[in-house]
Amino acid sequence: MDLSYGPEYEAFRDELRAFIAENRHRAPAAPGAAQRAGADAVAWQQLLLEHGYTARTIPREYGGFGAEPDILTSRIIAEEFAAAGVPGGLSNQGISMLVPTLLELGTEEQKRRWIAPTLRGEIVWCQGYSEPGAGSDLAALRTSAREENGEFVINGQKIWTSTAHQADMIFCLVRTEADAPKHAGISYLIFSMKTPGIEVRPLRTMTGHAEFNETFFTDVRVPVDQIVGQRGQGWMVANATLGYERGMLGDPAALENRLAALVQLMHDERIDGVRAIDNAALCDRLVALQAEVAAMKFNGLRLLSNSLKGEPGGLAKLIVKLQSCELAHQISALAIDAMGELGLLYGGSRRERAGGSWQWNYMFQLGLIVGGGTAQIQKNIIAERGLGMPREPKLEHARAPKAEAA
């Protein structure tokens, strides 16, 4: 274990601090999860890209900064932005999920075409995986694509497509090989949401907002070179993206930020004149969560070190999505409890704290316990892949689901 920051790292930290102090007035307010980054956020992202404070290790020819991967610099960047309360680089489904997938599995042409504008926040992506009949059983998807005159022609329906109503592009799973076994018939396509034949219908959720959508495809035509991987390899590509999604959803820096906000809240709220943080029972819960966030933070550092050495993440990686999403939900739960009755306020009420965002988070984070692979599916993965336990007996035969009539 060597976690010392040598002099060159301290110089890097000083430089970053000076940058933040000088430029923080240009930083946008943290964008809500359901919002497309505004012009100020895009400008901020551009500035961070130029200085290598985001997309630091992505090669220059794809719009990144081209630095060598380095656990300490990435740690310093996360720490300093968090400590200053200034948003760091953008994180969304394009940047955190599609970009690493393309880096791993895209063609040279795809990398050059899509990564840079995505990093700059100019292209917003959505993820077209789930369908009404294919949630946990994603490989049962039926949206079909047949090849015709150098194009895929897509028909079918996706559901729970987050941000589809704001997105420019979609990465989408379709069934191209009607006769192949279930997992071998899928392809991974990327295409514009402005392509004729796409209809997006917002779906309202328990939060009262429409964070996601139903997306319908009728004879949507996409050039055949907009496939990532080969025909029939989509399941493998999709799983690469899912791995990055689970990393994004389990980001320990986000947990640290939520915890810091909770600590502040518990200093500000008083019960019978006494600060919530001085209430023994509430404080005990807070400290328990703090320990758990610390555990996830160091688990993250360990994973980062492993990956730099090219070692597999193993169990430490498989548990990240399950644990982090639960923890985020518990942090919001304690915030609501610390506010007592005030924790119920929502929808722009008078006396509402933080714009009702604790209640919104409490509900949305429950959604994220389901999204990206439910808690139960995560536990199956941990047991079967992590602990090597026997798989549940399968009733079905690996027959291909019937593709959508085209």
Binding site: T205, N279, G347, S349, G371, Q376, K379, E396
Partner: protein, 364 residues
């Protein structure tokens, strides 16, 4: 010995259930909630037909003269139907306050009107349970000043029972000078709560004591909120079980996965004892005064914890569908959230329960 509801109480439950099935289906709840009303005039009228506005009013004043266990039966049914009706404060706590502490003149003036539905009360007790910054009511020379937060059933109330910080109860007319009503909106669009700003508002003391009556009212309110969650939780479990029996993934119904079965079984295993606990807490309130306050604390804090577990787990069983507005499951989720926070969340209530037994140092 017979631990359970009487035949009359079961008939009451059946009657209320039937009425709610007819007048309060989910579509109606949605319409009322989305319209921003929190109160369904139609359901209120139907419940009044059954005489329930007078459930706690003695027969001599034109009511049914029933006890808290009877009211609990109704509260459970209302929670199950996520019914947008003012019940806990308006039909139970206000008449109870008058019964426990009112002078004969106050009782004669108000109780018959409560029974026939022509006096509509809101009740403000929050400051007795836990006072938050910005809240707090003080009394001086027959007037009240300050802010009462989270006054329950405040929509269209024409009179209020308000506790001051010392726990003394007061009657306040809805039209009194210096009284300002400010709406509060919560996650639960089926409940009405508001803030009252009082600036030297004329108030009539209701009884004269050191807070004993207010504490009893809080206890009654806690038992009813817990019962509401039992009713709501019951429905969430039933819906999760139904959904798990229909939804297919991996070529089988998800209810055939042990993981899903265990989620449902654990919800049931945790909620079922709450039903017995809230029944006993209500019985204790009616008949075992020594245990009333403690049992109300247990009912409230424990059901608050179990309710939260059931609400999130039943949502999870529904997968993405549970998170949407499509099935309306969130109405129950939010109702249970409301029940948990109002009149003291689990930590605050457990600290009181410990103090009642001389245990621990009451956490501030």
């Amino acid at each position: 010995m017979d631990f359970g509801l009487s035949p009359e109480q079961r008939m009451l439950r059946d009657a209320v259930d039937r009425l709610l099935r007819e007048h309060c289906p989910l579509d109606h709840v949605r319409e009322v909630a989305e319209g921003g009303h929190a109160v369904s005039a139609a359901v209120v009228a139907a419940l009044s037909e059954l005489g329930l506005s007078g459930i706690m009013v003695l027969e001599e004043h034109g009511g049914l003269g029933l006890g808290l266990l009877d009211a609990l039966v109704v509260a459970e049914a209302l929670g199950a139907a996520v019914a947008p009706v003012p019940f806990v404060a308006r039909c139970v706590l206000a008449p109870l306050a008058l019964r426990l502490a009112g002078t004969p003149a106050q009782q004669a003036r108000w109780l018959p009107r409560i029974a026939d539905g022509s006096a509509r009360f809101g009740v403000g007790l929050t400051e007795v349970v836990n006072r938050r910054d910005g809240g707090g009511v003080t009394a001086a020379d027959g007037t009240l000043s300050g802010s009462a937060l989270f006054v329950l059933d405040s929509a269209d109330a024409d009179a209020f029972v308000i506790a001051d910080q010392g726990g003394q109860l007061h009657l306040v007319a809805g039209e009194a000078d210096g009284l300002e009503r400010l709406p509060l909106s919560t996650i639960d669009l089926t409940r009405s709560v508001g803030e009252l700003r009082l600036d030297g508002v004329a108030a009539e003391p209701l009884g004269e004591d050191d807070g004993g009556t207010a504490n009893r009212l809080v206890a009654a309110g806690r038992v009813l909120l817990a019962a509401d969650s039992v009713g709501a939780g019951d429905v969430m479990i039933a819906r999760a079980v139904d959904y798990a029996g229909e939804r297919e993934q991996f070529g089988r119904v998800i209810g055939s996965f042990q993981a899903v079965k265990h989620m449902c079984a654990e919800m049931a295993a945790r909620l079922e004892p709450c039903r017995s606990l809230v029944w006993y807490a209500a019985h204790a309130f009616d008949a075992v005064p020594d245990e009333a306050l403690l049992m109300a604390c247990h009912a409230k804090s424990h059901t608050g914890e179990v309710g939260r577990f059931v609400a999130r787990t039943a949502t999870e069983v529904h997968g993405g569908m549970g998170f949407t507005d499509l099935l309306g499951l969130h109405y129950w989720f939010k109702r249970i959230g409301f029940d948990r926070q109002l009149l003291g969340g689990p930590e605050i209530v457990r600290a009181e329960a410990a103090a009642l037994q001389g245990w621990g140092k009451r956490a501030a």
